[in-house]
């Protein structure tokens, strides 16, 4: 075992040797190692978060045909630090009659819910927090904490706009959790496990995005809704709700909400990579070919994973900055009347076909799964088209006919 093959265990062994050499008891050595590991993971996530501020600002500028930050440092790379300094030196306001304890806990909880997701994010086959056998449910559980943070922030601010924003956001998040949980079952069925390592390894031959493209699309939509990003960004609908649940927050407390939203988006990009695009692996068997063994090096795997996650994050930004905002009732109707039934139909189809086709050779299995998804997508579009046509006919009958001349 060298540093290049297994960096985390190498450092851990080295630390154990060092600490026991100093006469530290085994139990304390383990606790210290875990604490250091957790700190390192959080620091990595937060440093990445600072970088994401720059990425976000640069990309939105490009989408809007601007240059973006370019004054401080090369390509404006120092800009996030300037932003942080600005946030830190701002006045920290607590509204009158606010519920102070709840008001102060809410941003911490929002950041916690995101950072706790990093515990299960597999950066590589040998660099990860924990490999739980209930990892996908843990993903949902961490999201539940985020929901709680938003409602706490909205209620404790003692501001009607904050409260309405929080209500809308929570209604949104709780509703879109349902298609997301149903879709999380599809990788579970395909990989026959809920552990993220198991799901990643099950995709070493073929990505789940190929076996279940519709599943990926639904997951993508519900992830955007869960993040509260545009077109589902009613939490920060400045024009109608001032700024939603965080309107009363200022300075670094607002900064925590902002930072956790960015990191949350990147983390979901990571989960999209893990669940549907092979995570750190998924080289379609290339790593087994002679001369490509270096692909399984943990550093290469981490780079692949971060690149895929960044692509997912970019896709989320792409949607965010190109779509107009959806009205709240349309948003909920879209979820309950469209996404939930569709994802249920997809889940049942996938479960049955997976059992039937798994005996076939891999390529026939893949073609069968892909074809079933295409059939469902086509059928859905046809139903929607028929429905839309009926509505248009009804409208035309009611409205006066244009005068012919």
């Amino acid at each position: 075992m060298t540093f290049w093959n297994d960096p985390i265990n190498f450092i851990a062994n080295w630390l154990t040797g060092l600490l026991t050499g100093w006469g530290v008891p085994d139990l304390w050595a383990t606790i210290i190692e875990y604490a250091l590991g957790i700190t390192a993971l959080i620091v990595f996530a937060m440093v990445l978060d600072i970088l994401l501020v720059w990425v976000e600002r640069k990309v939105v500028a490009r989408f809007q045909d601007r240059l973006g930050p370019n004054r401080i440092g090369p390509f404006g790379l120092i800009q996030p630090f300037a932003d942080i300094i600005k946030l830190v030196i701002k006045e920290d306001i607590t509204p009158a009659n606010a519920d102070k304890v709840v008001y102060n806990i809410a941003p911490v909880l929002a950041a916690t819910s995101v950072i706790s997701l990093w515990a299960i994010l597999p950066l590589s086959s040998r660099i990860f927090g924990v490999d739980m056998n209930v990892a996908l449910l843990y993903l949902v559980a961490a999201g539940a904490l985020g929901t709680l943070a938003i409602i706490m922030a909205g209620w404790s601010s003692n501001n009607k706009y904050a409260l309405i924003g929080a209500f809308r956001m929570v209604a949104n998040m709780v509703s879109y959790e349902i298609p997301m949980v149903i879709i999380l079952l599809i990788p579970t069925i395909l990989a026959d496990t809920m552990s993220v390592q198991g799901i990643t390894q099950a995709q070493s031959g073929i990505w789940f995005a190929i076996l279940s493209p519709l599943g990926f699309i639904i997951f993508f939509i519900s992830a955007i809704a869960e993040l509260g990003r545009s077109p589902f960004d009613l939490i920060e609908a400045e024009s109608e709700l001032t700024a939603g649940f965080n309107v009363e927050y200022s300075g670094m407390k607002f900064g925590w909400f902002f930072a956790s939203e960015l990191l949350h988006a990147f983390t979901f990009g990571g989960f999209m990579a893990v669940l549907f695009f092979g995570g750190y692996g998924g080289f379609f068997g290339l790593e087994k070919v002679a001369g490509f063994g270096w692909l399984t090096n943990p550093f290469v795997e981490s780079a692949v994973f971060l690149a895929k996650a960044m692509f997912g994050y970019w896709a989320i930004m792409w949607v965010k900055y190109s779509m107009p905002r959806v009205r709240i009732d349309h948003m909920l109707a879209f979820n309950w009347k469209f996404l939930v039934p569709l994802s249920l139909a997809l889940l049942v189809t996938t479960a049955i076909l997976h059992k039937l086709l798994i005996v076939l050779p891999t390529w026939q299995y893949a073609v069968g799964m892909f074809a079933s998804n295409v059939v469902i997508i086509t059928g859905t579009i046809e139903i929607l088209r028929a429905h839309g046509r009926k509505q248009r006919k009804a409208e035309e009958k009611l409205s006066p006919q244009p005068v012919k001349n």
Binding site: L27, D99, V102, M132, N133, V134, L137, Y138, V140, A141, G143, A144, L145, T147, L148, I151, M152, W155, N158, L163, F167, V170, V174, E177, M194
Partner: protein, 171 residues
């Protein structure tokens, strides 16, 4: 005292302290938030018991759904934001007495039962508890019937709740 015992005692203190705040605090919304803390403590207990599925489902169902429902209900059933006046009955001490009596009786029973101080049984080698639980819930010789009845109950409760809480056209 092993590390695990210390962890258990800390978790127990969190659960019981938050539970006391749930029944004692005047502000109803704080009671709901203390309930979240208590339920989170119970999730930690499940993790100590190596029931990983229960631990995660506890957070998803109780904190993600039930606590949020409570908070919504608290907000929907008030005209002003602050709770005023007495939150407990005048004869709350009878309830306290009853609670203490039941606690004393239960503790007496627990200590009297032989084998109450047993240590956990060894987990069978290679047992995936999540898989075993999943198999148990859907296999006909185990718990498929209670499981299906529970799902019918949930559906009925869903329909019933929507029907009761929706504003009828006659109102």
């Amino acid at each position: 005292m092993t590390a695990e015992q210390i962890l258990f005692l800390l978790t127990g203190a969190l659960i019981l302290g938050s539970a006391l705040m749930v029944v004692a605090t005047r502000k109803l919304l704080h009671a709901a938030l203390w309930l979240v803390a208590a339920l989170f403590g119970v999730a930690i207990l499940y993790a100590i018991l190596q029931a990983s599925f229960l631990a995660v489902v506890q957070v998803v169902v109780y904190i993600g759904a039930i606590a949020i429902l409570f908070i919504f209900a608290v907000m929907l059933t008030r005209r002003e934001m602050r709770d005023q006046g007495q939150q407990t009955r005048t004869n709350w001490w009878i309830a306290a007495l009853l609670g203490l009596l039941i606690l004393a009786g239960l503790v007496f029973l627990i200590l009297a039962v032989p084998g109450a101080d047993r240590l956990p049984a060894a987990l069978p080698e290679g047992l995936d508890t999540v898989r075993a639980l999943g198999n148990a819930l859907v296999s006909p010789e185990a718990y498929v019937l209670p499981f299906e009845v529970a799902s019918v109950l949930l559906l009925a409760a869903l329909v019933g709740a929507v029907y009761i809480a929706s504003v009828g056209k006659k109102d």
